[in-house]
Amino acid sequence: MAERAEPVITPALVAGLGVAGFLAALSLGTVAVVAAAADTPGHLGAGDWAALKFTLSQALVSAALSTILAIPVARALARRRFFGRDLLITLLGAPFILPVIVAVLGLLAVYGRGGLISELLVALGYAPLSIYGFRGVVLAHVFFNLPLATRLLLQGWQRVPGEHFLLAAQLGMSTRDINRVIERPILRSVLPGAFATIFLLCVTSFAVALTLGGGPRATTIELAIYQAFRFDFDMGRAALLALMQFAIGAGAAVFAWRLARDGAPGAGLGRVARRWDCAGFAARIIDGAVLAAVSLFLLAPLAMVLLRGVFGLGLLDAGAVTALVRSVIVALMSTALTLGMALVLGTAVARHGAGHMAGWIESAGHLSLAASPMVIGTGLFILLYPLVDPASVALAVTALVNAVMSLPFALRALVPVMRHVQSVEGMLADSLDMGGWARFRLVTWPAIRPAAGFAAGLAAALSMGDLGVVALFADPDAATLPLYLYRLMGSYRMEAAQGAALLLVAVSIMLFRLFDWLGKGA
């Protein structure tokens, strides 16, 4: 009986290990494949060390700024209830799912040299803004990641039992006392993880760094990998650079685990704790100003994308609709894969939380954060090319890679909740000898459904906007919407491309809302 209660190897563990192994093969294995295909062993040059330095410094500053700025935003959202709060939270997430080029053009439409602010400055007789260089890269990364940081911090606030805020009110705590006693511990538990995640996203981003970087100083490791492939066709060097990127990822992960304290899962982002300390006029003004500022910062570029897109919508033809349908199908397949993998990994981690094995399994799910999309794509290509026509598996590979790329975010949403369910109801289920499907359906699923809906929405939206990884697998007759958008731009059709961008953003947000809504069981 003891063995039944504490099984060493369960089907859940085996499945978890299977998925984890697959993910490791996809991210680390593809590096090996690329390295093996090299004619000569790779070596790193002075330029690569400069790239490492730039990559690290911009990612550190971007991640630090994103997380620090997210603190007042998350705090304001956590303690204020107002009309449109839900919608604002959704919209704030939009930059995160935009294709890079669309977002960059949107940013430039506001903050660029020819943007709204510059136009105003010039009209008043001042010099236009210049956002190129290090600060441009950081600005864009904050634009992309501030919403993510805000969400991660807000989840931390939701983990605080409601009684604590009542208690604080009863003890007559001031805003400062609450900050010290309640909020700072929250931040200590969620900031390191948020920082590490965003740091990694900034490490592997490269189109942003390149476009706004202002010159070759802004060279990231991912650009060096890109260069190694297409400029030098030096796969040994590409593999070495990819390993370097993994090393950074491992460092960031260790940092996050060391500092982060895992808390109970949050109750979704909808709850607003009633507060008595911040009812004053000044506090309201501050929160209002923070929310207004961040909304303006994030939504103005988005609004420009939408505004400009309206004119372009009329220029789109049937090709755009087909591409849209294809993208939605890829996004749905990708979402199913993400959710499937996240649930398998989550179950294994939740049921074997204490063991080393669970740690390894959970890490495998996050590997893609540090992986080079270019290397994954190339490694898969080398592997699959002898077997199948790459174009014939293009959409399947796109769906798979998108799924793996959004898996870390799905895990962030799901694993804490699944752990919680296991700790609260796991023993009850064990005692009733509930296992397998029945246990999942009756015990786990109802409890994790909102988190799963959120994770699915995120996966769908991310998959809609993603591109690049699979350039090698692109099927010219079956373009997805982002690829279609790039093609429009590549054929001088900027207006139509903006229409496609609008379509992409709108459908991504709709998909996100749809899954989120399904999860809430409305």
Binding site: G215, I382, Y385, L395, P476, L488
Partner: protein, 334 residues
């Protein structure tokens, strides 16, 4: 179950590419993305060639010329490609070294490529000049050389593409090298204050230019023709530089391992024909490689005189590339 089978049918429809033409041999042409896009020459080329070849022409795409070459290098001897269309002369030396291409055995007639042509492996299908494009309504004092550009007030900003990730970017690198040789670093130093930013590819740079971010963008002398002909907009122009303009000659080659060598030969011949070539100006927005019977389309800018054409031989381009890149990096990193 009905729902599931409906979904499956929907999936199958959406996932299916072009319908397979039954029984006909398939000619695989690898090309860059914009060539095969709905607005590029691809669809019309496909239709015209299929009308005469009794075959199925299938495009496979990679992002641009350099990505195209990397792709066939990855595939190596197992490649299913018959023809690779879309490399340029800065890539052909590496392409030739790879040993993946076979001689075309064609002597092109009526060639309109400045400087003539005698490459046994690759045939040109179009060409153009790199140039800085500007908006006539916005930029009043237009520089007429790299030196004038360098001497212009710092507020004159240009967007260029990164030579490591883009074909035009590499073209500019070779342009400055061809025009100034050992003096290239000085020119780059002079240009540095004007370079607003360096983008990953042409689309980003051109998009930023159209949005008014920069006064000039590295593109082609033929870019204004697009705006004039397709959009009836005559505000864009290419700045003509005294040093001359670097040429991009786009070429195609037959794979040594082509599954259908005869069809590949036929396609290359077709490529040099009036039918194919007349499609080029207003779909690929480049100059055709042969003299067209009726000349260039109306309003399509005449090429600058051939004595202004600059180009390095493929071998020379390959040889100076790394050093030129290093010069570029160090000049712009200060």
């Amino acid at each position: 179950m009905i729902r599931i089978s409906l979904m499956a049918a929907g999936l199958a429809l959406a996932l299916a590419g072009a319908p397979m033409a039954a029984e006909k041999p398939v000619l695989n042409v690898y090309t860059y993305d914009s060539f095969a896009s709905d607005w590029g020459p691809g669809p019309k080329v496909e239709k015209a060639f299929e009308a005469i070849c009794d075959c199925d022409l299938k495009f496979t795409t990679a992002g641009d010329g350099a990505a195209l070459l990397a792709r066939v290098q990855l595939e190596g001897k197992r490649s299913r490609a018959d023809v690779v269309l879309g490399l340029d002369t800065s890539l052909t030396a590496r392409a030739a070294e790879s040993g993946l291409f076979a001689p075309h055995g064609i002597t092109p007639e009526n060639l309109a490529v400045p400087g003539g042509w005698n490459d046994p492996l690759f045939l040109p299908f179009d060409w153009g000049y790199f140039a800085f494009v500007y908006d006539k309504n916005k930029l009043k004092t237009v520089p007429r050389s790299f030196k004038e550009l360098a001497a212009a007030p710092d507020s004159l900003k240009i967007v260029i593409e990164d030579p490591r990730s883009s074909t035009p970017g590499l073209g500019l690198l070779l342009w400055v090298k061809a025009a100034y040789g050992d003096k290239a670093p000085e020119i780059w130093k002079g240009l540095a204050p004007h370079i607003l930013t360096v983008t990953k590819g042409w689309s980003e740079a051109y998009g930023m230019f159209l949005k008014g971010e920069a006064d000039m963008v590295l593109s082609y002398t033929t870019s204004p023709a697009y705006h004039l002909i397709a959009e009836n907009d005559d505000s864009k122009a290419a700045a003509i530089f005294d040093e001359g303009h670097y040429m991009q000659i786009e070429v195609a080659g037959k794979m040594a391992t082509a599954p259908h060598p005869d069809l590949a030969d036929k396609f290359l011949k077709f490529m040099m024909s009036e039918k194919f070539q007349s499609l080029i100006p207003t779909t690929n927005w480049m100059y055709p490689a042969v003299q067209l019977k009726d000349g260039l389309p109306r309003r399509f800018a005449a090429p600058i005189p051939a004595d202004k054409a600059l180009i390095l031989s493929p071998e020379r381009a390959q040889a100076v590339r790394d050093a030129a890149l290093a010069e570029w990096q160090s000049a712009l990193s200060q």
